[in-house]
């Protein structure tokens, strides 16, 4: 059964210090609002999991929320590096960050294995690369029929997965339209699933082959319009490419980063206030 909760309560109740947390969404429907709330509540020692760490992970890492990162590509898509991620890896600022690095294909297999509650995922991957030499979580398994050696990665079962989606109904069924990445596998692989949504409708119509997460796999639903901004929510608002470009300058220096976070995240009560602050600044 899923509960309709305010965002602060959902994070407070379900995201504990030291937990493994996946905020998934492949460029689309990235749960920024939830990420900010984790920062506001000062969570520490999180093991962050995400295929493509993006601005929100740069912020979580820069604000000292994370001790470990499982990922397969960390950058500002189409712009450049994530400066806070680099600062943590290159200079251990604000604290050291342990890396569990994979390829997209490897992490996808790990999420699928997690969703299926299998202990490992399997792929014909990592051939001829140095990644296995630096990650003892990439091993091999032999096919019992052909003898072929294949790559094996441990299943990913986050303590908490957080997604953003277009809509949910009062019972907590969640509907996702558009690019889904590995969000659904990350959701089904988690022990606890929180979904922030653009709108709550009375009842979702039968979805046939469309993507729905049934209410009984969802722990908490949060009404949070604009919750994926500055990434986009198909059918609701577009990606703010300008913001992604501006982030490169904001995050490049520690001082400018901390000032921005103080004003726009720590200094705002919730996502509405966050958005309003940006609107004023842009006006």
């Amino acid at each position: 059964m899923s509960m309709l909760l305010p965002l602060a309560e959902a994070i407070e109740r379900h995201v504990a210090d030291g937990a493994s947390v996946a905020l998934e969404g492949f460029t689309h429907l990235i749960p920024f609002a939830a990420g900010h709330e984790i920062i506001r509540q000062g969570r520490r020692n999180l093991h962050l999991i995400r295929m493509t760490p993006d601005i929100i992970y740069d912020q979580l890492i820069g604000m000292g929320c994370a001790r470990k990162l499982t990922f397969s590509w960390g950058g500002n898509p189409g712009v450049g590096s994530l400066h806070r991620l680099r600062d943590a890896v290159e200079h251990q600022w604000p604290q050291p960050l342990e890396l569990d690095e994979h390829s997209h294909a490897g992490m996808a297999a790990a999420f699928c294995a997690g969703a299926a509650r299998l202990p490992f995922g399997m792929l014909r991957g990592y051939a001829g690369t140095d990644l296995p030499a630096h990650n003892q979580n990439i091993r091999r398994v032999q096919c019992p029929f052909t003898g072929e050696m294949l790559a094996a990665v441990p299943a990913l079962n986050p303590d908490v997965t957080i997604l953003h989606a277009q809509r949910a109904d009062r019972a907590g069924n969640v509907a996702i339209d558009g690019i889904v990445g590995a969000a659904r596998e990350a959701a089904l692989a988690a022990k606890t699933l929180i979904v922030t949504v653009e709108e709550i409708v009375d009842a979702l119509p039968p979805a046939m082959n469309a993507i729905v997460l049934p209410h009984w796999v969802v722990s908490a639903v949060v009404a949070c319009p604009g919750g994926a901004y500055p990434s986009y929510a198909h059918g609701h608002y577009v990606r703010d490419n300008a913001f992604y470009r501006q982030w490169d300058a904001i995050a490049r220096e520690r001082a400018s980063f901390l000032a921005w976070m103080e004003q726009h995240v720590l200094g705002t009560r919730d996502h509405r206030a966050f958005l309003a602050g940006l609107q004023q600044e842009a006006a």
Binding site: F26, R86, E90, H104, A108, L123, R124
Partner: protein
């Protein structure tokens, strides 16, 4: 036709390599421009796949990210990402994969992970993404990278994706399903592997580019192929189409975005 930039020339040269109806795994940046240019010119039947799950997409504007909305709206279908990598890439259905990288060595091996040591890097790069498995499984790989002594190096600091490994058939012996880097399109021309040694050698120059310029931009003693082609300059049609595409893209990406409040 005011003089075309090297980026434009690279994009057009890459687009020309793409056969109609070939299935291409598209990376962001110049590869995305090259694939969509091919689709708008000589290869209307080309099939573009973005790793986010958009299969057979026909964007009117180049995506800034690999998961842009327009990719989903114009795709034949959008599948979960795990299926792109297993049912399409790993299954050997991808004809051409595009890769970029921070470093490339003479055998087409790529580094997009770290500069310096892995545990204490001087520069932490974004990481592998789809590259290792694209390099492993795509029937052919094209690398697009602007050349400099920093990027075309004697030894890469980390092998993120396998090209021809140590050359001389090492890749084939490793059993990699895909054929490896077929060509490296760079801002002075094109490199391609020598048939036996599989060392990248200069095979073509843009008109106006010189062997000296190429040698100056490559961190290993660049071998020039026996036959050195000159890449035909962009046609008006190619340049107009590319510039219109880029203009539409700039305009779309500059459009102010309403904050969803």
């Amino acid at each position: 036709m005011n003089a075309c930039t090297r980026d434009e020339w690279m994009t057009i040269a890459a687009a020309r390599l793409l056969p109609d109806r070939s299935v291409c795994f598209v990376g962001i940046g110049l590869p995305s421009a090259a694939c969509n240019l091919a689709r708008l010119t000589h290869a209307p039947g080309i099939v573009l796949i973005y790793e986010s799950g958009a299969i057979g997409t026909r964007p009117d504007v180049l995506p800034l990210s690999i998961g842009d909305g327009e990719l989903a709206e114009t795709a034949a279908c959008v599948v979960p990402l795990p299926e792109v990598f297993s049912y399409y890439l790993q299954a050997g259905r991808i004809d051409i994969g595009f890769l970029g990288a921070a470093q490339i060595d003479r055998h087409g091996n790529l580094n997009s992970t770290v500069i310096g040591s892995y545990d204490a890097p001087t520069t932490r790069l974004p990481g592998a993404g789809g590259a290792p498995e694209i390099a492993q499984h795509a029937k052919q790989v094209f690398v697009m990278a602007r050349a400099s002594k920093r990027s075309f190096v004697e030894r890469i600091d980390f092998r993120t994706s396998a090209g021809y490994l140590d050359g001389h058939g090492a890749r084939a012996r490793s059993g990699a399903p895909g054929g490896g880097p077929r060509a490296v399109i760079t801002d002075f021309g094109m490199l391609a592997p020598h048939p036996q040694s599989e060392e990248l050698q200069l095979v073509a120059l843009f008109a106006g580019a010189s062997v000296e310029e190429a040698r100056a931009a490559i961190g290993w003693p660049l071998v020039v192929a026996d036959h050195l082609d000159t890449i035909a300059p962009p046609s008006a049609h190619e340049l107009d189409t590319l510039r219109a595409l880029n203009a539409r893209t700039r305009e779309a990406h500059a459009r102010p975005v309403r904050i969803p409040l």
